[in-house]
């Protein structure tokens, strides 16, 4: 089998039901949360797939997926607008089995709802992601490793000191050959610094087969009901990703990861390492800096008009910062307007807000203040 990425499909399952990022996920899926001045969280997962040559990607969604659909559209920006293969957004079909509630607990249950998508896809391998990670990974290398080892399943993991925002996590142990010896979901006592990046490679037919046998005996979760019971029966290997990777599963983690982008080494790796990160493009003029602008250590998107002072902050497209305004350690999302003399510190402001003159807002570095979409203050 040659290393042909046309032979690989991508599956992204977005199961989360809780409002993990508080106000930011009130009306949108986690994957659709704006990130990094012009992206959404899912852009990284999608771009990594596309940059590796994957041409068939299914995104399984559960609810609150309207903004995600708006963002992804027909997949044009990811070059996935295609007549055959391309991008598929797959929400659960209501009524499909006569039930009235269609919220499902478990990633493979969601996947099974559109089994026909897996069935009619022609690719031999699946890159399966149960969480959209922030990273820039070369999937061709991961696939090569999977093929070299003749693995049934490869789990991509990274080493971490457990200091980073954890939330839910999956810990793994491997032997010297990288064969996985143990997997633990959210253990109270950490025994390994190897944490799963919730990204797997598996044969498409194998996936359908073990998913079917697992679900028919009560299974619902890929790691708990497929990986763990099969550690002895299948060849399950780990692949250590050595670059920068973050799993966003709390507001603190979102804020911390955002601030890490201000390190040019990290942003360079994330934005360029194995190809660019694609996102929905907007027609915005260049950012304009007036004579009174004073900007330090910040990431700024097009369409911004900057008259005030910005420090250690991230400004999304079309943000306006008035004269004498001061923005510190903050994230300001699309089209929000900060009037004359506004002062922000440790604040995350969602889209389309207006903060009137001289208002002061301040959160803690470990607990940023969040202002909801369309707030007028």
């Amino acid at each position: 089998m040659s290393l042909n990425m046309n032979n690989v499909m991508g599956v992204i399952i977005l199961t989360e039901r809780k409002d993990k990022l508080k106000e930011l996920t009130l009306n949108r899926a986690l994957a659709a949360v704006p990130f990094g001045a012009r992206y959404r969280i899912i852009d990284f997962a999608l771009s990594n797939l596309v940059n590796a040559g994957v041409r068939n990607v299914g995104v399984f969604v559960q609810e609150k997926y309207r903004s995600l659909m708006d963002h992804l559209g027909i997949g044009k920006e990811w070059d996935l607008n295609r007549q055959r293969d391309g991008l598929f957004i797959l929400p659960p079909e209501k009524y499909a089995d006569g039930s009235t509630s269609w919220l499902l607990n478990g990633d493979i249950l969601l996947l099974r709802r559109h089994l026909d998508y897996l069935l009619r896809s022609k690719q031999e391998y699946v890159i399966l992601m149960t969480n959209p990670i922030i990273w820039n990974v070369n999937f061709t290398t991961v696939l090569k490793d999977h093929l070299d080892k003749q693995a049934d399943i490869t789990i991509v993991y990274h080493l971490t000191d457990h200091q980073n925002c954890l939330g839910t996590f999956t810990e793994i142990n491997t032997d010297r050959q990288e064969k996985i010896t143990a997997v633990k979901v959210n253990p109270l006592i950490n025994q390994s610094s190897k944490l799963s990046l919730d990204t797997f490679i598996i044969g498409r037919k194998k996936l359908m087969e073990i998913m079917d046998s697992s679900i028919s005996t009560g299974g619902s979760d890929f790691v708990r009901d497929i990986i763990i019971p099969n550690l002895d029966k299948l060849l399950i290997y780990g692949y250590q990703f050595e670059g920068y990777a973050r799993k966003i599963n709390s507001l603190e983690c979102y804020y911390k990861t955002s601030m890490e982008l201000l390190n040019p080494k990290i942003s360079k790796e994330l934005f360029y390492a194995n190809g660019p990160i694609y996102t929905k493009v907007k027609n915005e003029p260049p950012a304009i800096y007036t004579k009174t602008a004073e900007v330090k250590n910040s990431l700024i998107a097009n369409g911004c008009i900057i008259k005030g002072r910005i420090e250690n902050s991230i400004l999304f497209r079309g943000v306006k910062v008035g004269q004498n305004a001061v923005v510190k350690n903050s994230i300001v999302m699309q089209k929000t307007e900060l009037d004359y003399g506004v002062s922000l510190e440790n604040v995350i402001i969602d889209k389309d807000c207006f903060i009137s003159a001289e208002k002061k807002l301040m959160g803690a570095a470990s607990y940023p203040l969040v202002i909801s979409k369309k707030t007028q203050l």
Binding site: K296, S298, A301
Partner: protein
């Protein structure tokens, strides 16, 4: 609905030789401008904002970038099922092929394209001016005057008038005479190269012109004078907004500077008259703690560690620590390395200004300094000083300071 009331023919075939190093492999309308635009964006956006959704773009010189830039017109909303934008390069017929011999000849050779839409009016445009104009209002003016042709005019300084087509009009704006680039201009009403013709009239004159072996097949030199002589009703439509012919390096630089404060002669932020363009995919720009950016336009993909004043930065520009940039236009992906100094300059696409270079003059007042231009892909070696125009294989007007 195949019929269209008014369709535009945009002349985009010129090389723009006066733009020198910037148009060697690039048609003039494709020259980058204003941080993320190309010159043709302004005319195309004018069309869309004026409600004209059918535009033929006549290309001839090095059209590859222009063709791939325009594509089927998505960024300008010109990817229409009926109409939309269509690139029209020269082609071969059963009786052989002909290059476009002049502006009028280019339109003449594409009468077949016009014919498919059966327009009542044809708007003829140039692809090398920067301005915002509502052609719809001009069309209204044209119709109200029951004109055969209407020419948009702007007042220019009388000393520059001899570079333009100059008109005399009566009190009703009816044109009574027209001279192309007169040596002794009688007034300062200059043609903007924006014409509206009744289609049937235009067709007649183009066909006559094509049969005239002595003609240079040009709108300004041949068609307009011929129509005037024949007594057609022709009117001058006065325009008084910002309009700039960016046909020389100096005017291109000036037009870029006009985007900046405090003058802000041209506003890119006007939400009622948006300028559309292809949007590159680049990460947000980064301004480091060591940097200072004032009165400038900055695009995505830039990395700024140095200082930047009154300048226009295209996507992906790098300004190293300690570098200082004043009054400059830095095109796509150009790099100003650590400690370099740039003043009153255009730095071409992907050019590299190495460490401690001096581009332009360091300590002379802006108004008196001539422009310095470094061509696309040029690399200026560390410590070198450049003043004037810099091209691969030879330096013109280079003065070394050290």
């Amino acid at each position: 609905m195949n019929k269209k009331e008014c369709i535009a023919m945009l002349l985009a075939g010129g090389q723009g030789t006066r733009l020198g190093v910037l148009t060697k492999k690039l048609a003039k309308p494709a020259v980058p401008f204003g941080g993320k635009y190309r010159i043709i964006d302004f005319t195309l956006s004018n069309c869309v904002n004026s409600g004209i959704d059918t535009v033929g773009v006549l290309t001839q010189f090095q059209p590859l970038q222009l063709h791939s830039y325009i594509g089927i017109g998505g960024p300008w909303d010109l990817d229409r099922e009926r109409g939309g934008v269509m690139v029209l390069p020269p082609f071969v017929r059963s009786d052989g092929g002909q290059w476009y011999k002049g502006t009028a000849n280019a339109v003449y050779q594409n009468l077949g394209y016009l014919e498919t839409y059966q327009p009542e009016y044809v708007l003829v445009l140039s692809g090398d001016h920067v301005y915002k104009m509502d052609y719809g209002k001009m069309l209204e003016f044209h119709k109200n005057n029951n004109a055969s042709a209407t020419i948009a005019v702007i007042e220019v300084p009388i000393e520059e008038a001899s570079r333009f087509g100059i008109m005399n009009t009566d009190s009703d704006k009816k044109i009574i005479d027209f001279e192309e680039k007169p040596k002794q201009p009688k007034n300062n009403l200059a043609s903007m190269g924006v014409y509206i013709f009744n289609y049937d009239v235009l067709k007649k004159y183009l066909e006559e012109d094509a049969n005239d072996p002595g003609s240079s097949n040009d709108f300004g030199k041949n068609i307009i004078p011929k129509m005037l002589i024949s007594g057609e009703r022709m009117f001058a439509y006065p325009f008084d907004g910002y309009w700039k012919d960016v046909g020389t390096l100096e005017s291109l630089w000036e037009a870029n500077m006009d985007l900046l404060g405090p003058k802000h002669k041209f506003d890119l932020y006007d939400r009622n008259w948006r300028v559309y363009s292809v949007n590159p995919n680049q990460p947000p720009h980064y301004i480091a703690s060591s940097s200072k950016v004032e009165n400038s336009l900055v695009n995505e993909g830039c990395l700024i560690y140095g200082e930047c004043f009154n300048s226009v930065l295209f996507p992906g520009v790098y300004i190293g620590k300690g570098a200082k940039v004043y009054d400059a236009v830095i095109m796509l992906g150009a790099k100003i390395l650590e400690g370099a100094f740039v003043r009153k300059a255009i730095i071409g696409t992907n050019a590299v200004i190495s460490e401690n270079c001096l581009i332009g003059q360091k300590d002379i007042l802006l108004q008196e300094t001539p422009l310095t231009v470094v061509g696309d892909d040029e690399v200026v070696a560390p410590g070198l000083s450049v003043f004037g125009i810099h091209e691969r294989g030879g330096l013109k007007n280079v003065f070394k300071y050290e």
